[in-house]
Symmetry: C2
Subunit: 105 residues, 2 copies
DNA sequence: TGCATGTGTAATGTTTTTATTACAGGTGCA
DNA sequence: TGCACCTGTAATAAAAACATTACACATGCA
């Protein structure tokens, strides 16, 4: 994982709203509208947050048919453990796409 | 650590620039101007990033006198280990200052 | 048919973050 | 005195993130 990926992963959860969404989904599998009510935000905004969480792999969503035949989009949290420390960061930076020859200092 | 604090901590390192700064400081203690050259950015911008890193406790800085009597501001990285998973997030959300009684769902 | 419920997104506005430029100082030394 | 360093910050511009509103469309059911 390079520096851009690490930053993107962290950015995906560096938001109170998205942490709340994640915590809610950690408890319950919910479809978008139900989740929107639970966390008290508009669906449009929730979609934006879910898109970011899903892009980073923290949640997955899929369409499912309810008992009465309606298509519902259910999301669930993906279990993960993320450990960050200085060596992790240095390793990520070492992989990064900047020219590995600069300073004169 | 509540949800706001957790998000703020993550946000402090959720940036390629700041990760690069942290990795650089993990190797070397440097003063601001030297660091600016090393990571190739203006001091003004670097100050902004350092302020965020310091506010979250990832770096510490202090003035020191060089051998020839000039005041230099040295920064160094603070060792840390940050582990995040779903239980961590749920625990942080549980501590949060939102009214703990809402939905009817 | 009309209502309640759901998905999905475009357009737009607001706020925050990120970045640049330009100052105003200070030290040591040739 | 003038140059080469350094710290610190204000003003501003540019870009990205966040949030709201409004729409199009689909299903089941009274």
């Amino acid at each position: 994982m390079n520096i851009e990926q690490l930053a993107a992963t962290l950015a995906a959860i560096a938001s109170p709203q998205r942490l709340r969404i994640l915590a809610t989904l950690a408890d319950d599998r919910l479809h978008v509208s139900a989740l929107a009510r639970r966390v008290d935000m508009s669906r449009a905004l929730l979609y934006m947050h879910l898109t970011k969480l899903e892009a980073a792999g923290f949640v997955v969503g899929g369409l499912e048919l309810s008992a009465d035949g309606k298509a519902l989009k259910y999301f669930e949290a993906t279990p993960f453990v993320l450990t960050i420390d200085l060596p992790t960061i240095s390793a990520a930076v070492a992989l990064s796409p900047i020219s590995p020859a600069d300073e004169t200092d």
